[in-house]
């Protein structure tokens, strides 16, 4: 796990001077090992494989709902709704990922999180129905098996 | 040339955000619009770097975005602390 984290960090610092990069990577590793903050949640390795497909799907979804939001802003007919959405993910990382995905698509914002229900503010009826169909929920639950 | 027109449009939208930050009824409006100003400003820095043929400005834009996020969270924490003390 430590080696994987080192690899990610050094891949990020490849564009700078390599030597200073190495020194700072070792320093950061030393600091985070001292504070004992490394566990599964920091860098889930299994997730890295499936991530690009999920990102492409997420970008498509963002563009689709962004167009709807732009239409609502310019036309001015808006009818907001509060809905409750059930999350079927097992672990905490999956739930956090799902809430982030809801907030990231423009037009829906997660307001409050109970144990496994989210309170979501949606900008129009169309967007909330899109969310309630549960496609995003299923996909992220499959991601975090 | 196109970059200058883009910069003008970005400046116009920053003006809109400043209007909301000055007028906003609740503190959260002000925080939200200031964070949006930060994002637009970082984009403006990047576009400005391309407009004057000095692409090093991209690094500054990156730093700007990270600091913008930290600032938003810090102001929110501060506001929450202050509200709790009052009650």
């Amino acid at each position: 796990m430590l080696f994987a984290l080192w690899f990610v960090l050094s891949g990020y610092l490849k564009s700078l001077l390599i030597f200073f990069g190495l020194i700072s990577v070792i320093f950061v590793l030393w600091m985070s090992a001292r504070s004992k903050s490394l566990n599964y949640d920091v860098l889930p390795l299994k997730l890295m494989v499936k991530l690009p497909i999920y990102w492409i799907w997420l970008i498509k979804e963002i563009i689709k709902s962004g167009l709807t939001t732009t239409k609502i802003i310019w036309k001015g007919n808006y009818s907001p709704e509060l809905i409750k959405v059930k999350a079927s993910q097992k672990n905490d990382t999956g739930k956090a990922n799902y809430a982030n995905a809801i907030t990231l698509t423009p037009g829906t914002v997660t307001i409050e999180i109970d144990k496994d229900t989210f309170l979501v503010h949606a900008l129009s009826k169309e967007l909330s129905e899109d969310l309630q169909s549960g496609e995003m929920d299923k996909l992220i639950a499959g991601l975090h098996k | 040339m196109i970059f200058f027109i883009a910069l003008a449009i970005l400046g116009l939208s920053i003006l809109f955000c400043v209007y909301r930050a000055a007028k906003g009824p609740t503190p959260f409006d002000r925080i939200l619009s200031i964070s949006s100003i930060g994002t637009i400003m970082a984009l403006g820095i990047a576009v400005h770097g391309f407009a004057f043929n000095r692409p090093d400005f991209v690094d500054i834009a990156l730093m700007y975005i990270l600091l913008n996020f930290l600032g938003t969270i810090a102001i929110l924490k501060f506001y929450k602390m202050k509200g709790k003390k009052k009650v």
Binding site: G66, T70, P80 | L43, P55, V58
Partner: protein, 104 residues
């Protein structure tokens, strides 16, 4: 090829500018805090994405474009966190949204 690069740069740049402009207009037009967060999210995701895409096309593939790609990546991580924090604190401090709660 040169034409293609130039025109696609112009197209995506103005698409991003249009989204940012409409987001800031929404920041003025919409009536309460919770719906203004949507407008700010529109600025953060679509406007940034398209403008950075146009700059990447303009600069060609190099180390610089990799650095440009890091900007939307950071925004992808930080924007929902700050949006959620703002809405959570606004909800806790007693601002009621104008929408009604709908049961399934």
């Amino acid at each position: 090829m040169e034409y293609l690069i130039n025109y696609s740069t112009i197209f995506f740049l103005f698409l991003g500018c249009f989204f940012i402009l409409s987001g800031s207009v929404g920041l003025i037009k919409l009536p309460d805090v919770f719906s203004r967060i949507h407008a700010a999210g529109l600025i953060d995701t679509l406007g940034t994405g398209f403008i950075i895409l146009s700059l990447i096309i303009h600069s060609g593939f190099s180390l610089l474009s990799l650095k440009l790609l890091l900007i939307p990546l950071f925004i992808l991580f930080t924007s929902p966190i700050s949006g959620h924090a703002i809405s959570l604190f606004a909800h806790e401090s007693g601002h009621k949204p104008k929408a009604k709660l709908k049961r399934k």
